[in-house]
Symmetry: C2
Subunit: 441 residues, 2 copies
C-alpha cells in the first residue's frame, strides 16, 4: 500500500495511479505549468483538493487538483535519518527527563493550504523530529493536553503541577513542559508558585515557528530545554527560548519574571526587571544569576489551588470606574490594577476601590510601564490609593501579580493570609532594586 | 518683612528671631548636632514643623522643630541668576513657540518633608528655571490645566487640541505641551488624530524627575522640545524625552508609536515597532525617519471629538467573558482587545464577542506583546475571531488603538465610516512591516 498520508478522493487516486509516495521527488504538470518538488503528507483535517510540494528552495506550495493534471515520479523518497527513542536499558547513564506536552506550535504542524497551524503531533513524535535529545537525556514523553495556549485556564495549571509532581515522584531529574507561547508566561508563573520546595528544574518551552518551517526554533529550543532539565544546577520553574536571532543561545528566564514581548520573533521572550537566570550555549548551562534555588532532595509540596475570581484591569484615560463595582458585584475576590507610571489611577476610581477593599477584595497595584517598580509614596495619588487600601506590588509583572493573587487566594484561608503571601517574595517575583535602571526594554 | 515663604507658627517665629531669609546659608544646632545649608522655601500645603536645608552636597534634608533649637545666619542668600523672559520686541528674529502647560512633574516641585510632588509652578516659571529657552525661540507660555496626568480624560484632549489651534492661528511656529508622563503617550496619540492637516510641529514633553532634584530631566527635555518646536522640519505630534541615560540626546517619538516603558528612568519613553522620528543633539534636530509630514502653510483642521464609550480590555487566563456582555449592556460602542500573541482570546469569548459585533460595537484586536504585529490568519483562533467580526489592527499599540477608536467613533456618523478610519493609516499608527523583527524591547 502506498504511503499517501492524508490524501483522499480523486487526488489520492491520481497519486496512486502515478505510483508516487509521500517523500518522493515528483513533477506535476498542469495547464502548461510544471512544478517539481517532494510530495508532502497532509493532515487528516486538510481538504482533499490540494497536493503539497516542498520545492527545492525549501518553500512549500499547494497545487490544486485538476482531472487533466499529470504526476510523474522523478526519484525515490529520501528517508529522513531517524533514530528511534533509546530504550531505558540502553542509556541508563543519562539523567531521566520527563517531557509533558500541553499543545501549542511546538507540538503542531502547518497545513500548507490554509496556512493554519493545528495542534497535532504527539510529544513522543518530538523525539523522532529531534533525535539529538537521545544523546542528552533519558527522555520520557507524555501528552497531558492538546490546547492552544489562549484556552489554558487555572485548572490546567493545577493539572500541570500534579503531573510534574507525579513525574518527580517516579524519578524524573528534570521536567520539560511544551506549551503554546501565547500564555506560557502565565503558566510558568503559576507553576513557580504551585510547586513549593521543588527539587529539580521545570522547564517550559515553546516555539514561535512550527517545526516544519525552515526557520523553526522548535528543535533548538527543545534541545536547550532538555539540556537545562537534565543538567541545570537550579531547581526553579523557567522558560527556555531563543535569546537572540541566532540559534547559539537559549535563554532560561525565571517563570515569575518572563513575558512574551514580541508577537512573532524567535527571541520574543524577555526577563523583565531581571536578567535571565541562565542560558544554554553549546550544550552547557551557563549560570547568570547568583541567587537561585539549588537542586535538592527535599519533598515537593504541591500548592495547586487557584481562585479564578481575580481580574487584571488595565487603567486608561476614559476608564469607567463602574467596572470595579461590577467586579465586586460579581463576587470577585481580587483585582490587579495595571496602573500608570509609578502606580496610579484616576481619582474617579477612589470610591469604587474603597468599596472593593471594604467588601474584602485584595486590590494590588502594578504598572503598565512593565519595566521599573511601582512606588506609591512619591505622588499624592499613590499615597491616597495606599490609604484606600491598594497594595503596591513593587516590580512584579502585572501578569505574575494576577497569577500570584489567584494562587494566594486559592491556598489561603483568610484575606490576611493571602495578603501576607502577596507581600512575601515567594519565587523571585520581586527583584533587586539595583536592576531597575539597568534592565529595560 | 523677611522672606520665609511657606514657614508658619513657632518655627517661623524662630527663623524671624534669628534674622534669616529663605536662600541664606544657615547653621542649625539641635540636640548636640549641627546642620549647615541653604534654607529652602516650603509649599503652603507643607506641615509647619520642619525646616528644609539644601546641604552643600546638593541633597535636601528636613530638620524637625524643637523649642531648644538654635539657628544662625552664616551668609546672605545667593540670588539665583535670573534672566527674565525676553520681550517679543527684543528677539523678533527667533521662531515663535507656544508652551501650553497641562501639569505633571515638569511643572511641579517636591515637598522635601513628605517626599510628595505637587503640581505647582506655572509654565511661565519654566522660563526662569530654564533661561536657555530665550536663546532658542520667542517663547510664550500658557497654563491650560494643572492636572496629574492620570486624571486627564478625552475632554482634556479636545481642550488641548483647541488650544493648539488657537496658538497656531495667532502665529506660533511650533507648540510645546508640558504634560505628566503617566498618560502622555495617550494624549500624544489623541492629538495626532485630532489635529488634521497640521502645519507646524506639536511637541509633548514631560519629566521623570522634578525640576528641583539634581538628576532632573525637566530642563534638558524642555530645551529639546522647544528646539524641536522651533526648528524641526516635520509637522507632526511627537513626544520629546531623553533617549538614553545621558543628557546629550532627546528623542522625538511619533505620538502614535510611543509608550512609557519604565516607571522611573529618565529614558522611559520608547517608540514601539518604529524608530524615533528624530532626535535633538547639540541644539540641532537630526532626522531619523525619511517619511514624515513636512511643515506647511495649509489650514489646520480640528477633529477634536472623542467618544469615551470605548474600553481597553486585556485578555488573560481566567478572563471572564461576561465582562464583554457587561460592556455591551452599558452602551459601549467599541472594545479594543489586548489579546495574546498574534491576536487571540479564549474560545469562551466567542459568544459575547459575536453579540457585541451584532449590536454594532467595533471590536479591534491588538497584542499584549506590544512589539510585533497582530496576524489573525496564522492560527484557527485568529481566523475564527475574524469570522466573528473582530478587526485586526496590525502593529498598532493597544493604547493608540483605544484612542483612535474613541476618535473614529467621535468624528464618524456611522459604524462603517469609523471602521474605515480604523483601517486607514492616519498618523503613522501602522508602520512598515520590515521593522518588526528589528525593533523590539
Amino acid at each position: 500500500m502506498p504511503n499517501l498520508q492524508g490524501y483522499r478522493g480523486p487526488l489520492r487516486e491520481l497519486l496512486e495511479r502515478s505510483g508516487v509516495d509521500v517523500g518522493d521527488l515528483i513533477r506535476v504538470e498542469k495547464g502548461g505549468r510544471i512544478y517539481e518538488g517532494y510530495l508532502m503528507p497532509r493532515l487528516e483535517t486538510a481538504d482533499e483538493w490540494h497536493l503539497v510540494l516542498k520545492l527545492r528552495s525549501g518553500y512549500n506550495i499547494g497545487v490544486a487538483y485538476e482531472p487533466s493534471m499529470r504526476v510523474t515520479r522523478l526519484g525515490a523518497a529520501v528517508k529522513p535519518e531517524f533514530r528511534p527513542p533509546p530504550l531505558p536499558e540502553q542509556r541508563s547513564g543519562l539523567p531521566k527527563v520527563s517531557i509533558i506536552s500541553t499543545g501549542g506550535t511546538i507540538a503542531s504542524r502547518v497545513d500548507y493550504i490554509t496556512g493554519g497551524v493545528h495542534a497535532a503531533i504527539s510529544s513522543r513524535d518530538l523525539l523522532s523530529i529531534v533525535p539529538e535529545l537521545a544523546d542528552i537525556a533519558l527522555v520520557e514523553a507524555d501528552i497531558l493536553y492538546s490546547l492552544f495556549s489562549e484556552n489554558i485556564e487555572a485548572q490546567h495549571w493545577s493539572g500541570m503541577a500534579r503531573k510534574v509532581a507525579e513525574k518527580i515522584k517516579s524519578g524524573a531529574e528534570g521536567v520539560v513542559i511544551t506549551h503554546g507561547t501565547d500564555t506560557m508566561g502565565y503558566s510558568a508563573a503559576a507553576l513557580s508558585f504551585a510547586l513549593r520546595n521543588l527539587p529539580v528544574p521545570v522547564i517550559f518551552v515553546g516555539s514561535q515557528r512550527s517545526s516544519d518551517r525552515p526557520s523553526s526554533d522548535a528543535a533548538t529550543n527543545l534541545i536547550g530545554a532538555v539540556t537545562a532539565a537534565a543538567y541545570a544546577p537550579f531547581a526553579e520553574v523557567v522558560v527556555a527560548m531563543h535569546e537572540t536571532t541566532s540559534d547559539t543561545s537559549i535563554a532560561l528566564h525565571r517563570g515569575t519574571k518572563v513575558r512574551k514581548c514580541h508577537t512573532s520573533s524567535r527571541y520574543a521572550f524577555r526577563s523583565v526587571n531581571a536578567r535571565p537566570i541562565a542560558r544554554v550555549v553549546k550544550g552547557r548551562v551557563e549560570m547568570i544569576a547568583e541567587d537561585y534555588r539549588p537542586r535538592g532532595d527535599g519533598e515537593l509540596e504541591l500548592q495547586d489551588r487557584f481562585d479564578e475570581r481575580v481580574a487584571l484591569i488595565k487603567f486608561h484615560p476614559g476608564f469607567n470606574p463602574s467596572l470595579i463595582e461590577w467586579l465586586v458585584d460579581e463576587g470577585y475576590r481580587g483585582i490587579i490594577l495595571e496602573g500608570t507610571g509609578l502606580g496610579h489611577v484616576s481619582s474617579k476610581c477612589y470610591g469604587p476601590l474603597r468599596r472593593a477593599v471594604k467588601e474584602g477584595l485584595i486590590v494590588g497595584m502594578t504598572s503598565q510601564c512593565l519595566w521599573g517598580r511601582v512606588n506609591m509614596n512619591v505622588y499624592t495619588t499613590g499615597r491616597e490609593l495606599q490609604q484606600i487600601g491598594v497594595e503596591p506590588l513593587g516590580d512584579m509583572l502585572p501578569e505574575t501579580a494576577l497569577v500570584k493573587l489567584m494562587w494566594a487566594l486559592g491556598v489561603s484561608s483568610s484575606r490576611e493570609e493571602a495578603l501576607e503571601l502577596m507581600r512575601r517574595n515567594i519565587a523571585g517575583e520581586y527583584s533587586d532594586r539595583t536592576l531597575y535602571e539597568e534592565v529595560r526594554p
